[in-house]
Each structure stands twice: as structure tokens, then as C-alpha cells.
Symmetry: C2
Subunit: 108 residues, 2 copies
């Protein structure tokens, strides 16, 4: 992949939607810089850039809950990525399978 | 929902992952400001904020490809939303079902 073709934002990041390859549940939205994308492709595990800690972050490095990358897809604007993964454990630091666990719309 | 609890970015936006409620395919990543989120909740159809055109945008207003919102979920950091939708047509302006149609990782 030619990384020059990607539209990195003003901070050099691109949003990455992480989706369970089997259940298709969206697990988290994280951000990648060029190095984390390169390391993700090289290792086939997810690496992100933590905006709060301002550092490269290998998902699961401390928790063991790594995410094996099955597929990566780029959108038509080339400014967002979908990662289909096989997670070794919960994606969320709360212990939840997905970070998206709070429903904010009531049933009609 | 108390919108004060959401973490809007420096431009007053929050990223919204749009996912097909039936197939679970991720269709697009778009951005909402407070007005578009309010209108989405009120109408049960997706409204976004176009960063390039800098205007409120009712998805499908011109194309007819509206998206009926089935469920909305907020993440643990309260800075990203997942919308589960029933789309009336393709999500992408290219005519593709999903904006994420370019594979960027080869099979091993």
C-alpha cells in the first residue's frame, strides 16, 4: 500500500474502526499514525496511536487482549480504515467485549 | 440523552460509525455536530455534518438513500457513536453499498 495516498488528518492520524471478523460487532474506534499502520501490517496485530498518552500502543501488550488482523479496508475518501480482527479477549479496558456498550436511543 | 456528557472534538464534532443493522457491514464513517445528532434522534434518520462543505447534511436528501436508525450506541470514552441503520440504498456516493470497498491488506 502506498501510504502517501492516505488522507492523514492535521495531526497525522487516521481513524480505524475495529470490527470483530466473526460476529461483525464494532469493537472500538481508535487512531493510527503512519508507524502504527506500518506495524499493524507487518505484525498482523493492531497497533494504534494513543492521542491521550501521545504514544504508539500495541493493543493487548499489557492485557494480552491482542487483535489479529484478518482484513483491512479503506474508504472512498481514503481517510478512514476498517480493520476486521480476531480478538484474543475483550476490546474495552472496562472488560466489555466492545467499547460501544451504552445504548443512547430508546426503542420506539 | 444529555449531550453535555459527550466528548465533542475541538471542532464540535463526534465521529459516527454507520453500520447496516442486518448485515452488520460498516457502511461509512461520518461526523455529527450537536444539531445533526439532535435531528437524527428526532427523525430517526441519519443527519451528519459535512466537514468539506461545512454544512448540515441529511443523508439521502438528494439521492433518496436515507438511513433509518435502529439503534445508537456510545463508546466508553463518550467520543464516538455507532449507528445501526436500515439503508434505503447504497451508502456511498460511488454507488457502492459501503464506502469501505478498497482492500488494503493481502491475504497471507
Amino acid at each position: 500500500m502506498n501510504m502517501e495516498n492516505l488522507k492523514w488528518d492535521s495531526q497525522g492520524l487516521i481513524p480505524a474502526i475495529v470490527q470483530d471478523a466473526t460476529t461483525k460487532e464494532v469493537l472500538t474506534l481508535a487512531y493510527m499514525n503512519r508507524t502504527s499502520l506500518e506495524k499493524s501490517i507487518e505484525t498482523r496485530e493492531t497497533w494504534f496511536y494513543s492521542r491521550s498518552r501521545q504514544e504508539l500502543w500495541h493493543k493487548g501488550a499489557t492485557s494480552g487482549n491482542t487483535q489479529k488482523i484478518v482484513e483491512m479496508k479503506l474508504d472512498c475518501d481514503r481517510d478512514a480504515i476498517v480493520l476486521l480482527v480476531q480478538p484474543a479477549g475483550p476490546a474495552c479496558h472496562t472488560g466489555a467485549i466492545s467499547c460501544f456498550s451504552e445504548r443512547i436511543l430508546e426503542e420506539e
